[in-house]
């Protein structure tokens, strides 16, 4: 961002100053009690740079309108396919210069830099993704960004800004991948999604890191009047991953679906904090996160439905279910409600369970061996979320990734 416009440089300076000024996160804070901030590189300088591990990372499985690869978060130009006139898919740093008008008013509008994780991201990001779909335009093929880590940089920082204008439609994939790394790498990502009135967006976050990666991901999506936003967060890889996904019902009649699935094994630690905030009346939100765990892994789900005063007619649901496959794995689920408007329909539920003996018996009584039966049951359990992934090749790929974890 050498030639970044003045305002962007100022943000960076302010964010850097905030890092010095803001109190250090200790892990004693209520919202940090499950995942130590130090483990995510939010305290001190984070891990040192290490040796780079070369690995060919598979390209996206299906046809894309644009592909962008950010190695260790460094900027690079996207490979563009056929995109309708007016659609922009660009590296974010470049977009600061080339599309200043569009970027300036929205960047940092949903994820700011007043708190430590936000300031850290704003102060450090180099490369990122900018997607803009103009009014009424439908981008048929998805865009996909691959953020990779090689180990050469101990800290990887990236940012995504997606703007879907009025009545426009798009699918955006953010994929996070690395080989297994011998030394730890901390990753910070901030994804701001703005869907204007009547727009439609499907956003996929596919977290598939190898060992050694610790990832703090923030995703905030705002849905305008009658807009439809579906976000699917799939967390399979990385040593420690904390995802903070916030859905803002900014306009009446908006429809937000927050879907998540995670499968933790070995000593993986995944925390998902998912918030639906109803700032407008008559909006719908539905949150469904499902998690499977095995070995010595630990998952945390914190969900919150926030309905401030002035949002009557809110229709909001929140469900988190976890399937623990063995002793030693542990899931925490904390569903929460903050409702300050009357005349709303809200429900929340959280559950942690084991594989149902009756399910196992039924499948085994039909000749399916115990291990295979468990695989079917776990895949079936996660299917409720997977079936919302509309891209066939991505869904199949995820089913295979889950099956690999089960074998």
């Amino acid at each position: 961002m050498v030639n970044a416009p003045g305002w962007a440089a100022e943000v960076r300076q302010t964010a850097t100053a905030n890092l010095d000024r803001l109190p250090v996160l200790t892990g004693e804070e209520e919202e940090w009690r499950f995942t130590p901030p130090a483990d995510l590189g939010l305290v001190g300088d984070g891990p040192a740079d290490g040796p780079a591990v070369g690995a060919q990372l598979a390209a996206s499985a299906g046809p894309r309108s644009a592909n962008l690869t950010l190695v260790d978060g460094a900027p690079s130009a996207p490979a563009l396919g056929e995109v309708p006139a007016g659609v922009i898919v660009a590296e974010l740093g470049q977009a600061l210069i080339d599309h200043e008008e569009l970027v300036r008013s929205r960047l940092y509008s949903l994820i700011g830099f007043a708190d430590r994780p936000g300031a850290l991201n704003a102060a450090h990001w180099e490369g990122g993704t900018f997607v803009y779909v103009p009014r009424g335009v439908e981008l048929l093929l998805p865009t996909e960004t691959l953020l990779s880590a090689t180990g050469a940089h101990g800290r990887v920082t990236s940012r995504t800004l997606v703007i879907v204008d009025e009545g426009a439609k798009a699918t955006v994939i953010d994929r996070y991948r690395s080989p297994n790394l011998p030394s730890p790498v901390t990753v910070s990502t901030a994804t701001e999604i703005i869907v204007a009135d009547g727009g439609e967006l499907e956003h996929l976050s596919l977290i598939e890191w190898g060992a050694g990666v610790r990832h703090h991901a923030r995703i905030t999506a705002s849905a305008g009047k009658d807009a439809r936003v579906r976000s699917v967060v799939v967390t399979l890889g990385g040593d420690i991953v904390r995802v903070e996904a916030t859905h803002i019902a900014a306009g009446p009649g908006s429809d937000s679906r927050a879907l998540g699935l995670c499968f933790a094994d070995d000593h993986q630690h995944f925390e998902h904090r998912v918030i639906a905030r109803h700032e407008a009346p008559q909006a719908y939100s539905n949150l469904l996160y499902k998690g499977a765990l095995k070995d010595q892994s630990h998952t945390v789900f914190f969900g919150n439905l926030v309905v401030p005063p002035g949002a009557p007619g809110t229709d909001a649901y929140q469900t988190n279910r976890n399937l623990v496959l063995n002793e030693g794995a542990h899931a925490d689920t904390i569903p929460f409600l903050e409702i300050e408007t009357a005349e709303v329909k809200c429900s929340h539920a959280g559950a942690v369970g084991r594989v149902d003996d009756e399910h196992l018996f039924y499948l085994r009584s039909r000749g399916v061996p115990e291990d295979a039966a468990k695989r079917l049951i776990v895949l079936g359990f996660l299917q409720e979320v997977l079936e919302h992934v509309h891209l066939d090749e991505v869904r199949r790929e995820l089913e295979e990734a889950v099956a690999r974890k089960l074998s």
């Binding site: 399910h359 039924y362 085994r364 009584s365 039909r366 399916v368 115990e370 079917l376």
Partner: protein, 255 residues
């Protein structure tokens, strides 16, 4: 007479520490269909689940030889692979597992080899027609949203696809209207012959009008108390279970 496909001797079974079966003796020669009748609580379903290996049913005594092998020593899935099948009274719903995926996995497991997908679909369509099983159910999840009758049809559909050597039908007739009962019976009868032994567990005589039993056993308080020919079913139809001390009739209400 050939060796029985199923030979139960002195079988004792407890559920949650309570003894339900108190020494069951029963033999079914291969190729024969036997009915097992008895009032509620006599232990019929306990026998079915114990034979299938349900972990809640604790074997406290006796033996079961299935096709020359010790059935009780076999894992649940091994029993299925050996040709044992239980059509359940209350099949569970398994979320997210599609009917077709389940059936294919089950067939491959029981056969010990991958069935060609085209052959599988052909077989599935043919057997679905036989059982009037709605083909649009294939993408549904296992038993999820199925009516009672659809669940039973689906159980027998699995049976005719897996072609077991021996099947236990646990109250398959309960909750079925006459039309559905005829369809389900047609499925069972399609396998009838020298390669199928079966034990039809029922409270009522109605299903036996469609699947004629070779032998009828009566179970009461955890034991087989009588064994006879098909006429025994007629006798029960007339007199119910009164002679065994139960006021329950053997004719289905409304039948």
């Amino acid at each position: 007479m050939a060796d029985p496909i199923l030979q139960i001797k002195g079988l004792e079974v407890a559920v949650d520490g309570r003894t339900i079966l108190k020494g069951v003796d029963l033999a079914v020669p291969q190729g024969e269909i036997h009915a097992l009748m008895g009032p509620n609580g006599s232990g019929k379903s306990t026998l079915a689940y114990a034979l299938a290996g349900h972990p809640r049913y604790e074997i406290t005594g006796g033996s079961v030889i299935f096709d020359g092998r010790d059935l009780l020593d076999m894992e649940i899935d091994e029993r299925a692979k050996a040709g044992f099948f239980l059509a359940m009274q209350y099949p569970v719903e398994v979320p997210g597992v599609s009917v077709l995926n389940f059936l294919r996995t089950s067939m491959n497991a029981v056969r010990g080899e991958e069935i060609n997908p085209r052959d599988f679909m052909k077989l599935f369509q043919e057997k679905s027609r036989l059982l009037e099983f709605d083909p649009s159910f294939t993408d549904r999840y296992l038993n999820e949203g199925f009516s009672g009758g659809e669940k039973k049809r689906h159980e027998i559909l699995q049976m005719v696809m897996l072609e077991p050597r021996f099947a236990v039908l646990d109250e398959t007739d309960s909750g079925l209207d006459v039309d559905a009962l005829k369809v389900v019976s047609r499925g069972v009868n399609s396998l009838r012959g020298p390669n199928l032994g079966a034990l039809i567990i029922t409270h009522y005589t109605r299903i036996l009008q469609y699947i004629a039993p070779d032998v009828v056993h009566v179970m009461f308080e955890g034991r087989i108390v009588r064994t006879g020919g098909p006429e025994l079913a007629d006798e029960l139809e007339a007199g119910g279970y009164a002679q065994y001390g139960s006021p329950e009739p053997a004719v289905a209400p409304g039948a």
